[in-house]
């Protein structure tokens, strides 16, 4: 850093201010300040809790203090954050700093929660610093005369960029940055991110502009994470998910009591409801000190819970990814992860929620819900040690978001085709877009489709005499503004007490399966369904002891490919008798049984088990690629087998492997196994084995909403757009019949290949299998690896009581067979 910068007025003021608080700037902060002063853009990489906010924010303050003449009245720094919940605290921290420094800046928040009156005030005179979300920024673009607010903007900072990269909100952000960069001449673009596997790419996606000098500033500070696997009293040799859970409650209670405040992470909202009940049963004294927090719980209640955590009133909170991110809770000194975290980044993120301040150690306990998850604990420990974090793949050519953006501009100030084409081409997401594709998009928003005659009266966007594309209808503008954004939630219904009082939200899909007087669990309460009206479910407290908890569809997390790599490695390690790892030693009886009756696959092996039981002929395979990929592989294998002999299969799977069950012998042997698992004709066979149209139709749901083909009904709102209601499935069908070349339709298929079928990962998996030694084992009893998959398939067809009995019977039978 240059001496002149360190002696500058601005730097001195800030350094002095920090000194009065007993702080020294971190090197990465100083670096950011100096580079910003030189007009650079860049990416700041730092773990949470290390003052990353103050890197970019104070950089702008220092530069302003040094060169006030380069700053105009109004907006100077635009802070974009994916999280609304962070905004308030961020504004508070920034305001405090500004006041203490003695600056006359105003910091304000603008998002969906901002009252109309404040918004109008802001529109008259923008604050110096505005904290917002990508969606709100696009909403601003849809206002008349919006460019005047951004003309003199000096810096846009995108916080938590890793959370946006890889999804469509990231595309919204890319587009917003592109437009700001077009409006403001000397804009600095800064991203702030946690460590991810593809940092260089992340920086290029946010700042794809070669004329900007772009840097990567990495904090050398590392968050220390202590991973503590909690082992059950004894190892269950035939493990199954869910069973171990309850018995682990007695191990969780002492952990809660030994710490100040504990966050207990589960993977789904359904599980969190379940564990809340289990923990209360295990220790009734926790009533009032234990809370539950997830995305479907009333926002007010969630806010209250968050405040209570901050104040240290609560002992523990059972939560989902709803608390992965967000405000730092000072009192939290312990985190518990129940079940698999499915990814290394997510696991580290969750661990980091405890022991925030730099140099403090984050403590995370791992509670396995079945014995095999103990391997995962070992895998995670190693992954954390190696700091191997997943990459986030950016999406490209998402035409739904592009169409939305173009209409947003048309609703706002109007746009010129060529200018917008150039703007889009410079972004990462649309750099590969062709002129034809852009022409299609223009046609789509002006005429509706390529056969003009079929779309008479379609009046969305007009080309005006001044060469600008504009929306003229007020109603269309209004509908569009309501629809801006890229988060598409499942149709949700509000849940309210008959006597008044709002509890939370459930998916329409779940409620549609219930009848009046049925009971279900939400927000830790057992509720009885009374009736449904206007997207609202009316309920009363139920006296029922047992009830079902909603299965929220969004709950399934895919297993990351890094995670699967470490899992395979650890399973292979478990064979070495000299192992130092407590978890693997603990699992020895299970491993021993697996290797006695079948085989433990080493890293360069692929295991296939053929098991004959009374029930039929089972085929098990263990790719360890996660449930979603297994869904595809299992359908593929079933397809290839049925080409040898027409068979019908029942398919079941978990994150480790899958099962094909048939009532006839499965024609798989040493001679043809290579062909069945071949990487030749992979994608052709996959396409033949699945119903691609059905999958694409499901993907089209989000696309239809984002591109404005489906008008979303807001939960609780009166359905005033009733005559415009239609389902995305219906529109999908109509388009397939009438406009098969519609790019949005094509996009749905592309998304199926990229996300659902995970083409790249699938190919990698088959490459790996191709290079592995294939091992086929035949047996007549279930093995430790196959058993949990078997149980999962039973679960779907049996009530839980019957399930318990059935499983116990199979366990007994298996052991009896083994003795003989």
């Amino acid at each position: 850093m240059s001496k002149t910068f360190k002696t500058s007025v601005g730097y001195q003021i800030i350094a002095d201010w920090m000194a009065t608080k007993g702080n020294l700037p971190f090197p990465f902060q100083e670096q950011t300040w100096a580079k910003y002063a030189k007009g650079c853009s860049g990416m700041v990489v730092a773990p949470t809790g290390f003052g990353k906010t103050f890197s970019v924010f104070l950089a702008v303050v220092i530069d302003y203090l040094n060169h006030p003449e380069q700053y105009q009245k109004g907006l100077k720094l635009l802070w974009v954050s994916p999280l609304r919940s962070l905004a308030k605290d961020l504004a508070k921290a920034m305001t405090a700093a500004i006041e203490e420094i003695g600056l006359d800046w105003e910091v304000a928040v603008r998002n969906g929660d901002t009252p109309t009156k404040i918004r109008r005030q802001q529109e008259r005179l923008m604050p110096d610093v505005l904290i917002s979300t990508p969606e709100t920024l696009h909403l601003l673009f849809s206002q008349k005369n919006n460019s005047r607010w951004f003309k003199s903007l000096n810096c846009v900072a995108v916080d938590e960029w890793h959370e946006l990269l890889g999804n469509k909100r990231g595309i919204l952000t890319e587009l917003a940055v592109a437009r700001l960069n077009q409006l403001s001449k000397n804009l600095s673009i800064w991203g702030i991110t946690a460590t991810i596997g593809n940092l260089e790419e992340a920086a290029k996606v946010l700042i794809p502009y070669p004329e900007k000098k772009t840097l990567m500033i990495k904090s050398k500070l590392k968050k220390k994470i202590k991973v503590i696997p909690v082992l059950p009293d004894e190892v269950e040799v035939l493990p199954w998910a869910g069973h171990l859970g309850r018995s682990m409650a007695s191990k969780i209670i002492p952990i809660i009591h030994a710490n100040k405040t504990t966050l207990i992470f589960t993977n789904t909202r359904g599980q969190s409801e379940l564990w809340y009940q289990i923990l209360l049963e295990a220790d009734p004294d926790l009533a009032g000190l234990l809370a539950i927090h997830h995305g479907s719980i009333d926002k007010k209640l969630r806010n209250w819970i968050e405040d209570s955590i901050s104040e240290g009133i609560l002992k523990a909170v059972v939560c989902t990814s709803s608390l992965d991110l967000g405000v730092d809770f000072k009192p939290v000194d312990c985190v518990i992860q129940i079940g698999s975290a499915k990814g290394i980044a997510r696991f580290m993120q969750r661990a980091g929620r405890s022991g925030h301040s730099p140099y403090e150690v984050s403590k995370i306990y791992m509670i396995p819900t079945h014995s095999l998850e103990i391997i995962e604990a070992a895998a995670l420990k190693e992954a954390v040690k190696e700091q191997k974090v997943e990459a986030r793949q950016p999406m490209v050519l998402t035409f739904d978001v592009m169409v939305q953006f173009m209409v947003t501009l048309a609703v706002g100030e109007g746009f010129k085709a060529e200018e917008t084409y150039n703007l889009l081409k410079r972004t990462h997401a649309f750099s590969l877009m062709t002129e034809d594709e852009f022409a299609w998009a223009i046609q789509f928003i002006t005429q509706g489709g390529n056969t003009l005659k079929s779309y008479e009266e379609f009046h969305k966007v007009f080309l005006d005499d001044d060469g600008l594309y504009k929306v003229k209808s007020r109603r269309i503008s209004m509908l569009h503004r309501m629809n801006i954004g890229a988060i598409v939630s499942d149709a949700m219904l509000r849940v309210k007490f008959m006597s008044g009082g709002y509890i939370g939200m459930v998916e329409e899909y779940f409620i549609s399966k219930l009848k009046p007087n049925d009971s279900f669990i939400l927000a830790g309460r057992v509720l009885e369904l009374l009736h449904i009206k206007d997207m609202t479910v009316f309920v009363k407290m139920s006296k029922a002891k047992k009830a079902i908890s909603p299965s929220w569809m969004g709950g399934r997390l895919p297993l990351s490919s890094y995670m699967s790599h470490f899992l395979r490695k650890k399973l292979s390690d478990a064979l070495n008798p000299g192992t130092q790892e407590r978890e693997l030693r603990f699992l020895h009886p299970l491993i021993a049984r697996q290797s006695e009756f079948s085989h433990i696959p080493r890293e360069d092996e692929f295991l296939v088990e053929l098991i004959d039981t009374k029930e039929g002929f089972h085929l098990f395979m263990y790719p360890f690629e996660g449930r979603l990929v297994h869904e595809v592989i299992s359908a593929l294998i079933a397809y290839r087998l049925s080409k040898i002999e027409p068979l019908t299969f029942t398919i079941a799977m978990n994150d480790y492997g899958f099962e094909l069950l048939s009532d006839q012998e499965i024609p798989l042997n040493e001679n043809n196994v290579r062909t069945i698992l071949s990487k030749e004709h992979l994608m052709e066979d996959v396409v033949a084995s699945i119903n691609a149209a059905e999958m694409a139709s499901r993907k089209f749901r989000d696309i239809a909403v984002i591109s404005g083909l489906v008008v979303q009904s807001m939960p609780g709102a009166n359905r005033n757009n009733k005559s415009l209601q239609s389902s995305s499935g219906l529109i999908f069908r109509v388009l397939e019949d009438n406009e098969p070349n519609n790019l949005l339709l094509r996009q749905a298929y592309t998304e199926v290949f990229d996300q659902q079928l995970e083409e790249v990962r699938l190919k990698d998996a088959f490459d790996r299998i191709h290079n592995s030694k294939l091992i086929i084992k035949k047996t007549n009893t279930f093995t430790p690896l196959s058993f949990p998959i078997k149980v999962d398939s039973l679960r779907q067809s049996l009530s839980s009581e019957k399930l318990d009995k059935r499983i116990q019977r199979i366990q007994k039978e298996t052991f009896r067979k083994a003795k003989n």
Binding site: G448, E456, F458, K460, L724, S726, V734, D737
Partner: protein, 214 residues
């Protein structure tokens, strides 16, 4: 066009359920349909949602085929003939009407039919506000318990066919019980409301090529 029939007898009358989303009552030479939602695609277009006019043109072609196939004298529409306002889709309907002026059209008004009376007059459609009684049947829009056997629509009934481990299939259907028959929506541009199985209810679901009874 492929037409599959499923004949049923109700109150002594033979009714032909067809796979083209309408029913034929031979004795009266009447075609019975529900929920045509004429003008729906243009209504969407007017509000910025591009739905091709071909959607409705195909519906009209199907109607045309049915009328000439059965040589029907009457068309009874049990509600929701028009979706919303008068719009460009109406021109196609008008064209079709002018070519079939011999056909008597009777509409039992549904919740969507809110156009002015002179428009129905101009198209030579006779309207019933609530119901049409043609013994042994009562034609109404929304299914309702009554003493006579009622024939209605409004719900867009459908059934869900579950397959193990595969996505479920949804099909439109005719829902029949001892007291009523509910027609599927005639327009292809409509969703389905899944019917709940109940004792005494029968579902005649169909694809382009066959009928399935549940």
């Amino acid at each position: 066009m492929n037409l599959v029939e499923e004949q049923i007898t109700i109150e002594g009358e033979v009714l032909a359920l067809t796979s083209l989303r309408a029913m034929y009552w031979e004795k009266e030479q009447a075609l019975v349909a529900s929920d045509l939602h004429i003008g729906k695609s243009a209504h969407f277009r007017r509000h910025g949602i591009p739905i091709s006019a071909k959607v409705q043109q195909k519906d009209l072609q199907r109607l045309e085929f049915l009328v000439s196939h059965y040589q029907a004298k009457k068309l009874i529409v049990v509600g929701d003939l028009f979706h919303a306002e008068v719009n460009t889709d109406m021109a196609d309907f008008k064209h079709w009407r002018n070519q079939n002026l011999d056909l008597e059209i009777i509409l039992i008004k549904g919740n969507h039919d809110r156009l002015k009376d002179d428009i129905y007059e101009a198209y030579q459609i006779s309207c019933c506000q609530k119901e049409l009684l043609m013994p042994p049947f009562q034609f109404i829009h929304e299914p309702k318990a009554s003493r006579q056997f009622s024939i209605s629509g409004h719900l867009h009934p459908g059934v869900r066919i579950k397959q193990k481990g595969r996505p479920q299939i949804k099909l439109p259907c005719y829902e029949v019980s001892a007291t009523q028959l509910i027609l599927p929506a005639f327009s292809e541009f409509t969703g389905l409301a899944m019917s709940r199985a109940k004792k005494g209810k029968q579902f005649y679901a169909f694809t382009e090529t066959s009928f399935f009874e549940f």
